[in-house]
């Protein structure tokens, strides 16, 4: 999908108007961002916004996140174990200490 984020009031207004009049192309609308369907028309709207508002418009192409393909097993297991922890108030790093789970700092440093 195409993620369009706006960074000025004018750009936000244009995006709102575009979303109102092209509902079929809008997958989801947030405050000043929207997810557009990945069709030529979605690209057309994104290009128009970029043309009119330049640097105040950010367009990203998103794709579904597949944790089995995109994230290492250690991360998946850590997430699953932490969400199933017994005491809900334990912060992650205390939970991970002394286990094989990676520390939060280590995960922050490693790119996917």
């Amino acid at each position: 999908m195409l993620l369009v984020v706006t960074y000025s009031r004018q750009a936000r207004e244009t995006l709102r108007n575009a979303c109102r009049s092209h509902e079929e192309t809008v997958v989801r609308r947030f405050g000043r961002a929207a997810l557009l369907r990945e069709t030529e028309y979605g690209a057309f709207l994104a290009c128009r916004l970029r043309e009119r508002h330049g640097g105040d418009v950010q367009v990203e192409r998103t794709e579904p996140f597949n944790e089995f393909a995109d994230a290492p097993e250690s991360v998946r297991e850590a997430a699953s174990a932490y969400e199933n922890r017994e005491s809900p108030n334990t912060p992650y790093d205390r939970f991970a200490a002394g286990t094989a789970h990676p520390t939060s700092d280590a995960m922050r440093e490693r790119e996917l």
Binding site: S8, G54, G55
Partner: protein, 326 residues
């Protein structure tokens, strides 16, 4: 603070009540008509059957813009019109008014303070202090185009290289098979090998360009991202300013609404409905706004309306606003 105080209930305080109309000096004005005559007052009645009056538009323009004016246009020397003036500049039978903005303006002219003023000032200061780094959109666009072109060119050359490599392999195999008849194949093989080395060289150059273009695009995008963080802060501040303004407006209206309702009720009772067949709600609103706001520059009052208010002096008494009657 120079503004007038508001007590905790959100009303104009006693001291404000006593001096909320412009003082006599502030309400004094003089008007010079195109025929050279000069009239002074807080009240000037221009109704005179023996001479032609300047058109209402020329008068309101003269009140708004002061001096100098053209010789054939009237000139008005008066205090500068405040924010409310524009809302009540012409009072006549079919006057229309947007009451809420007029009340906001009236409260502002009265110097009403609200509990949101400091918030608003702080948000405006923060907004002024913020200058988001520019994003060079043309440069980014160029970098995107270069990266895309280099990518497409690499793909094209990669395909071409595969084709040529296939040809070379086939020709080499043929050359081995036909080793006893070395003729054309050799020449074709040499040509194909030359083509392969050519396309390989091009491919390596384009691949280098592709890497460079991708790096450049990544760098520019990183810069744009950090510039957008500041824009993010700016749009949040702009929203905060707008919310503060809305709250200030609401508070201002709330502060003057009792006085406005009282003035409206009183004026409705005082208007001679015999002289003014039907007094539209808009006109009544406008009269009440004029009454509660400190009007310093003259407003233009229709003659019939002045009569319905009891004549020029009574009209001045009721509206507490300097006026030109025509």
């Amino acid at each position: 603070m120079s503004g007038r105080g508001v007590d905790s209930g959100g009303k104009v305080s006693e001291s404000a009540e006593s001096d909320r109309t412009g003082g006599p000096a502030e309400q004094h004005f003089c008007v010079r008509l195109p025929n050279g005559s000069i009239e002074e007052g807080p009240v000037v009645d221009l109704r005179n059957p023996t001479r032609s009056e300047p058109p209402a538009l020329a008068l309101t323009r003269a009140i708004r813009s002061g001096c100098p004016t053209r010789r054939d246009a009237p000139t008005v020397h008066a205090s500068p019109p405040g924010r409310t003036h524009a809302h009540v500049a012409r009072l006549e039978h079919d006057t229309t008014i947007r009451t809420r903005p007029a009340l906001v303006a009236a409260a502002a002219d009265l110097g009403v303070e609200t509990s949101h003023d400091d918030d608003l000032a702080a948000a405006l200061r923060a907004l002024r202090a913020l200058s988001p780094a520019p994003i060079d959109d043309a440069e980014l666009r160029e970098a995107r185009r270069r990266a895309a072109d280099a990518g497409a060119e690499t793909d094209r050359l990669r395909e071409r290289a595969a084709t040529v490599r296939g040809q070379v392999t086939a020709l080499r195999e043929a050359a081995v098979d036909d080793a006893t008849h070395p003729s054309d194949p050799d020449e074709s093989l040499a040509e194909a090998e030359a083509a392969l080395s050519d396309v390989t060289r091009q491919l390596s150059a384009v691949a280098t360009e592709r890497v460079a273009a991708a790096q450049r695009l990544r760098l520019l995008e990183r810069q744009a991202r950090s510039a957008r963080d500041q824009r993010n802060a700016r749009i949040r501040l702009e929203d905060r300013v707008e919310n503060c303004r809305r709250r200030v407006r609401t508070a201002r209206v709330a502060t003057v609404s009792d006085a406005f309702d009282a003035a409206r009720t009183e004026l409705r009772q005082r208007i001679d409905h015999g002289a003014l067949a039907d007094c539209q709600p808009d006109l009544l609103d406008a009269l009440a706004v004029a009454r509660i706001a400190p009007i310093r520059a003259p407003v233009l009052v229709d003659g019939d309306l002045a009569d319905a208010l009891g004549g020029p002096d009574a009209a001045f008494e009721r509206l507490r606003a300097p006026m030109l009657i025509r």
